[in-house]
């Protein structure tokens, strides 16, 4: 377990202020936040690159606040990979093993194993400058993972990749976590990463952690309007998707099903913007494919709008104006119909979590 206690550090214009986090063993933890929130500084401080001005970092039962990075057993992969350009792929991967004075034969076996695991064996003799973004990413992961770190830190690992490669790498990350059991802390501003990968997330703003929790919990109950606006989406629904004609029918764990315009099947995460959900007292005829009835469980004012949380078999958030809410006479316990278009539902593969 990694425990961060009241960590503060200022580096130039970036700062981290009084951050406390607890990351459980084997967890996939994602830190979300706008640019300049101090996310990278936080990761680098966990890795030991910067010494915090105050606070403590505890890994397992050992305090590592002042430990050199090389002795921390924490691996790091940057957005731009930072592969050493003067070394071949193989030498990049073996770099850490050489530093640790691992015997030659063992080095080779470990590198071969890692190359097979990440399917980069054919790239061994190439130089990083000749690789595609996805290939560099896998080499960077191999270089960090070959040392079997207790914690792997990922700084925006997917944002430099194009759409299809990103999707592939996302599955790869999910597989890495499953196969190696490594605790992963990732920074991202891609919500798809959050839905597909994270067990728990933290929202960071201006150097401070504003909210931490299970992914669906944070999306369902943002602590303030900043988090609500930043997350924006409102609904994350896990389920199993099957083909139903041209669209997907997603069956949730609670037994309620709805439709989504997607070709994906299997375990999926569906996201739906709260403002795309229309509430009405009774079902009405429309082109929208989904009309679910449920009860209001919570009404949360959020500035000029109101977030209404329903139970339609699963929790569903709708964003309404104050006027609409008033006209519909909504209060906890009211029965309503939630209507939304299948094309408003965004579906991504759930990985293997």
């Amino acid at each position: 377990m990694l425990r961060i206690e009241s960590l503060s550090i200022t580096l130039g214009e970036f700062s981290v202020r009084d951050v406390s986090l607890e990351i459980r063993p084997g967890e996939y933890f994602i830190i979300l936040g706008p640019t300049g929130a101090g996310k990278t500084v936080l990761l680098e401080t966990i890795a030991g690159i910067h010494t915090p001005d105050s606070g403590r970092i505890i890994l397992g039962d050992k305090e590592i606040t002042a430990t050199e990075p090389r002795l921390r057993k924490i691996g790091m992969v940057y957005q731009d990979y930072m592969l050493f350009p003067h070394l071949t792929v193989e030498d990049n991967i073996v770099f850490g093993l050489r530093q640790r004075k691992v015997p030659k034969e063992k080095q080779q076996a470990l590198v071969a194993e890692m190359c097979a695991f990440l399917e980069i064996g054919h790239l061994k003799k190439r130089y990083p400058g000749t690789l595609s973004g996805g290939e560099q990413q896998r080499v960077a992961l191999a270089r960090a993972l070959v040392l079997k770190p207790e914690i792997l830190l990922l700084d925006e690992p997917l944002s430099a990749l194009d759409g299809r490669t990103r999707e592939r790498m996302r599955r790869e990350l999910s597989r890495i976590r499953k196969c190696t059991g490594t605790t992963i802390i990732q920074i991202t501003h891609h919500f798809d990463d959050v839905f597909a990968l994270a067990d728990r997330i933290a929202i960071m703003r201006e150097g401070q952690i504003i909210q931490t929790g299970e992914t669906s919990e944070v999306f369902l109950h943002p602590v303030d309007t900043f988090v609500a606006e930043f997350l924006g989406i409102g609904n994350i629904i896990r389920g199993t998707s099957s083909r139903s004609g041209d669209i997907a029918r997603i069956m949730t764990r609670h037994g309620t099903a709805f439709f989504a315009a997607s070709g994906l099947t299997g375990d999926v995460v569906a996201t739906l913007h709260a403002e795309d959900v229309i509430l009405s007292e009774a079902p009405f005829a429309s082109s929208a494919r989904n009309c679910l009835s449920g009860t209001v469980t919570e009404i949360i004012p959020a500035g000029s709008t109101i977030r209404v949380i329903l139970d339609v078999g699963f929790p569903l958030t709708a964003l309404l104006t104050r006027e609409s809410c008033h006209e519909l006479h909504l209060e906890p316990g009211s029965t309503v119909c939630a209507t939304f278009k299948a094309s408003a539902v965004h579906v991504i593969p759930a990985g293997s979590i």
Binding site: E44, A47, G48, I49, E68, P69, R70, R72, I74, G75, M76, Y78, D80, M82, F84, P85, H86, F95, G96, Q99, R100, R143, A144, L147
Partner: protein, 275 residues
């Protein structure tokens, strides 16, 4: 209106053509002038005479002394410039601007001024005299040549290396540290190899500048025949003494060295714009 436009266009075209002709002809003239001047020097003495001059003990001594002093001073420059350039590119510290200014000053200083500053430092200050008594005599000695060359060339080396280091993202070192490197290990295994082309270019330039250094060497080490007589000093002594053949021989070698240097720098790295 409709008829005037093409006329105006033609005029513009004429202007452009004139500009092109003018600048191209001027380029040709400058190129020819420089080429002819250098050729005049190289072809001044017939080959047998040049060979005889090159074989003379004085020129041989000058070649050897120049080679040894430039090589040693270049090595000293490398050893000093690497840590200095690294700290300038990576660390923030109090008075950095002043330090940068002082380190750059010798670049714009005439070498004669640098030489006289060195002469005063080693000749008149107590610490200079103490060094002299400790066996580190630099005034009018071959050691002085090395000291003068280091003083004049170190700023170049620092500048080149500094820009090389600055171009390397410090995150490469961060990653190296998480992979098991110490601070110095990360520098030696990652940053320094990545700065290789800058280091090579800097070395070649420093070395060739040291080969040609005259002003500072003259001031500090003097111009003593067969003692502190480097190639430029040999050129100066022989031209003063009227032995044109020996002077030309020394000059020819210096031209060859410049040519080789230029080619080497072009070869090592096209991205390092040092000249």
């Amino acid at each position: 209106m409709a008829r005037r436009r093409p006329v105006a266009g033609d005029r513009r075209n004429n202007g452009r053509l004139l500009m092109r002709r003018f600048s191209l002809s001027l380029s040709a003239i400058v190129f020819l002038a420089i080429g002819i001047i250098l050729l005049t020097l190289v072809t001044y003495s017939p080959l047998p005479a040049l060979a005889a001059s090159l074989a003379s003990p004085e020129i041989q001594f000058a070649i050897l002394l120049s080679l040894v002093t430039s090589t040693v001073s270049t090595l000293v420059c490398i050893a000093l410039a690497i840590p200095v350039a690294y700290s300038l590119s990576r660390y923030r510290f109090f008075g950095k601007r002043v330090v940068e200014l002082v380190l750059t000053l010798p670049l714009t200083l005439p070498p004669l001024v640098a030489g006289i500053a060195l002469l005063l430092f080693f000749g008149t200050t107590p610490w200079g005299k103490a060094l002299d008594q400790a066996g580190f005599g630099v005034i009018f000695t071959p050691l002085g040549i090395i000291v003068a060359e280091v003083f004049v060339n170190l700023p170049y080396m620092i500048r080149i290396l500094r820009s090389s280091f600055s171009a390397i993202n410090p995150r490469y070192e961060y990653v190296a540290k998480t992979l098991g490197c110490t601070e110095s290990g990360a520098f030696l295994r990652v940053t320094l190899p990545m700065a290789r082309s800058g280091l090579l270019a800097g070395t070649v330039i420093t070395w060739s500048k040291a080969m040609g250094e005259f002003g500072a060497v003259l001031m500090l080490a003097g111009a003593t025949t067969m003692r502190t007589e480097t190639l430029p000093i040999a050129l100066y002594l022989n031209i003063s003494g009227g032995d044109l053949d020996l002077a030309v021989a020394a000059a020819t070698i210096l031209i060859l060295i410049s040519l080789v240097t230029l080619c080497a720098v072009e070869y090592f790295d096209r991205d390092v714009h040092v000249f």
